[in-house]
Symmetry: C2
Subunit: 133 residues, 2 copies
DNA sequence: AGACGTGTTGACTTTAACGTAAAAAGAAGA
DNA sequence: TCTTCTTTTTACGTTAAAGTCAACACGTCT
């Protein structure tokens, strides 16, 4: 059983560069163990990286992602901190819901554009031009 | 009836700076008319700006946004161009659908984190600490 | 005419998120 | 052991998307 991943294994799996992974480490987003100088990534690290990349796809900055990922392991022992955490959760949720609406709207508009393109296509074809497949 | 918007009206409405709007113009994303040196934004320009900002919220680059917004007005007169357009539309749609899935997953994880925080809160409270509202 | 507010242009600066290159250190196979 | 490959560290470069600052141009209110 392979307990650790090397840096290049992960770069290949996620199609990123070593520079990127080391940069994320410098930002405190992942903290792989070391065997000598070499980095060893655990499955947990791998999961964090997945989360980071998902955050990136959604347009969050690394700073925001850092905060979000930081929520996962944390079980703040104090009530005030817990309230703060829940506030942050709600804020993120609101953002995500807004993004959802934005996506819906964009998809609808894409449908419109496509419909226009299709009808335009029909026009062109029926106007007598013979076109191959 | 107010046919045009000034630059500051729009910056206030969308909470951006004049620098941003002029930058978008330099990138060819909007092309307001001029009265002398002054920029005059039409309702159409305003709509474009809305689209741009929506794209930004979804994490698209200005270059990508430029391409997307460019799709709207275009009715390419040639079949090959139309096919290309439809391909681009499909590519964007795929991206958006992926973002949707990413959002769903993230929302689910936020639910988990919140549930954990809540139960942790109950523990703390029931362990005898008297806390105000 | 003078002052004020708003707008414009141009130039330089900044920040995030990496890219790229150089030099050295281990690891692994012939 | 020699070579080859991967990895690491350090440092400088780059790109996108603005921020900041200076100087100048209008319109208008007094």
């Amino acid at each position: 059983m392979q307990r650790y991943f090397t840096i290049t294994q992960l770069t290949q799996e996620f199609d990123i560069t070593t520079r990127t992974l080391r940069f994320y480490e410098a930002q405190g987003l992942v903290t792989p163990q070391r065997r000598g100088r070499q980095r060893l990534y655990t499955p947990g690290d791998r999961t964090r990286i997945k989360l980071i990349l998902r955050g990136k796809r959604l347009g969050f900055s690394l700073a925001e992602i850092n905060e979000m990922v930081g929520m996962y392991g944390s079980a703040p022992g104090e009530i005030g901190q817990l309230r703060l955490l829940m506030d942050k959760i709600q804020a993120r949720r609101d953002e995500l819901l807004e993004k959802q609406r934005d996506i819906e709207l964009t998809l609808l508009e894409l449908d419109d554009v496509e419909a226009g393109a299709k009808s335009r296509m029909v026009e062109l074809v029926s106007s007598g031009v013979s076109e191959g497949v």
